[in-house]
């Protein structure tokens, strides 16, 4: 539990319309909503005009936490909220990790440490605008993944297509046409985590235009059904998310996790099929959409077969 600020501090903060937010020890998908709900209200509006994010207790942050933190800061800046970050020396390993992938350089203009440099296990965080999707995939994310799995970039073209499905989804639905992406390789279990997020209107909002009153978690399930189309994505006949989920879970044996509004959805492989589980988030809302893809690197070689020539027959 975060220590509750003193009564004087709370009164002062209220008067000055500012808040100090202690980031949790672990910033992951499990804790992101509680962070966001302290800063953003249920309508996605900022609660304060000045926010100081206290990173001193932060011990672990995963790719989801990274895109959530960056999206949050970007969003607050966009709506003219003053954002500051509190860190203390000696820097924690987690702060060094943020420093190494360029977090402080991006937001503060310079790295904290002269020796800060990108680790082989991460790619730099990227705000991907719709017109830059291909440059990001071709020049950054895919060469990095190819390097991690020891295959030619051409051999993992089907994986690239999975990410194209996500970015097209953002383009079609979110209304913001910009997504934040971050990826990390975990050598301990040979998994690659890729988190892509936007702060757009969110999937439930779009689905409710078609099905009034549907809950956020069921709206996510609906969005993952083949053939379900909303007014805004009728062009793609509701195929983007189902195609992504089917390929990742059945061919890679990986997972796809979604969070949007109050809904959360997990797509996992189970006995040769895809299992979809949805639930209501426990700690608040996610204003926008988060897609996390967990890829197993040990199935990439088999997936390379998918992009070999084959004679087409109807």
């Amino acid at each position: 539990m975060n220590p509750r600020p003193s009564r004087t501090t709370r009164i002062l903060n209220r008067l000055l319309d500012r808040v100090d937010i202690d980031l949790p020890r672990n910033l992951t998908k499990e804790t992101m909503q509680s962070l966001i709900s302290q800063v953003v209200d249920e309508d996605g509006k900022p609660k304060w005009s000045r926010v100081r994010l206290n990173l001193t207790r932060l011990e672990f942050i995963d790719p989801t936490g990274v895109v959530v933190l960056c999206n949050l800061i970007d969003y607050l800046r966009r709506v003219d909220v003053s954002v500051h970050v509190k860190i203390v020396k000696p820097y924690s390993r987690c702060v060094e990790y943020l420093d190494d992938f360029g977090f402080f350089k991006h937001y503060g203009g310079d790295s904290l440490r002269p020796q800060a440099s990108l680790r082989k296990t991460t790619v730099p965080i990227e705000r991907v605008q719709s017109q830059r999707i291909f440059a990001y995939l071709d020049n950054q994310l895919m060469p990095w993944i190819a390097d991690r799995v020891g295959l030619a970039q051409d051999s993992i073209a089907a994986v690239k297509t999975c990410f194209e499905e996500i970015f097209h989804n953002i383009d079609d639905h979110s209304g913001v046409q910009i997504g934040c992406a971050f990826a990390q390789f975990f050598p301990s279990n040979d998994h690659i985590h890729v988190a892509i997020s936007d702060y757009g209107v969110g999937i439930p909002h779009v689905v409710r235009k078609q099905i009034r009153g549907i809950s956020d978690d069921q709206a996510l399930v609906k969005a993952c059904e083949e053939g379900f189309t909303t007014k805004t994505n009728v062009r793609n006949r509701g195929a983007g998310l189902p195609t992504l989920i089917r390929y990742v879970t059945l061919r890679n044996q990986g997972n796809v996790l979604l969070a949007s509004g109050r809904g959360e959805l997990a797509a996992t492989p189970e006995g040769g099929r895809t299992r979809i589980r949805a639930r209501t988030a426990r700690d608040g809302i996610y204003p926008g959409t988060l897609v996390k893809v967990i890829l197993r690197t040990d199935t990439f070689e088999a997936m390379a077969e998918d992009v070999k020539p084959e004679v087409f027959q109807w």
Partner: protein, 100 residues
């Protein structure tokens, strides 16, 4: 008539890219031509491209007519599977919709 996708679009990913190919294939089918659609140098495509370029043809032509006139060449397993999945799903979907 041979249509090489990479001769007509810079990227083969978005719905807009697919629409360029759709118009070429549609016009050839309207003229009664047999169309050979080449995926040369393309390893994989997302669903938006397939839907725009090919599945949309179902709005004007019956599936068996498309199957008899449209040849897919230089493709990969991933491309083939996606084309067939999307076509058969859309064709069944249209039949379900017609059945009410």
């Amino acid at each position: 008539m041979v249509i090489r996708i990479i001769d007509h679009v810079q990227t083969h990913s978005t719905y807009k890219d697919g629409e360029v190919i759709y118009r070429l294939v549609r016009d050839a089918l309207r003229a009664g031509d047999v169309v050979t659609l080449s995926f040369a140098e393309i390893k994989s495509i997302p669903s938006a491209f397939v839907n725009a370029a090919l599945v949309k043809l179902l709005e004007e032509f019956k599936l068996d007519y498309i199957q008899s006139r449209l040849k897919i060449v230089d493709s990969t397993r991933h491309i083939n599977r996606l084309i067939k999945d999307r076509f058969y799903f859309a064709a069944n979907d249209d039949r379900r919709a017609a059945a009410g």
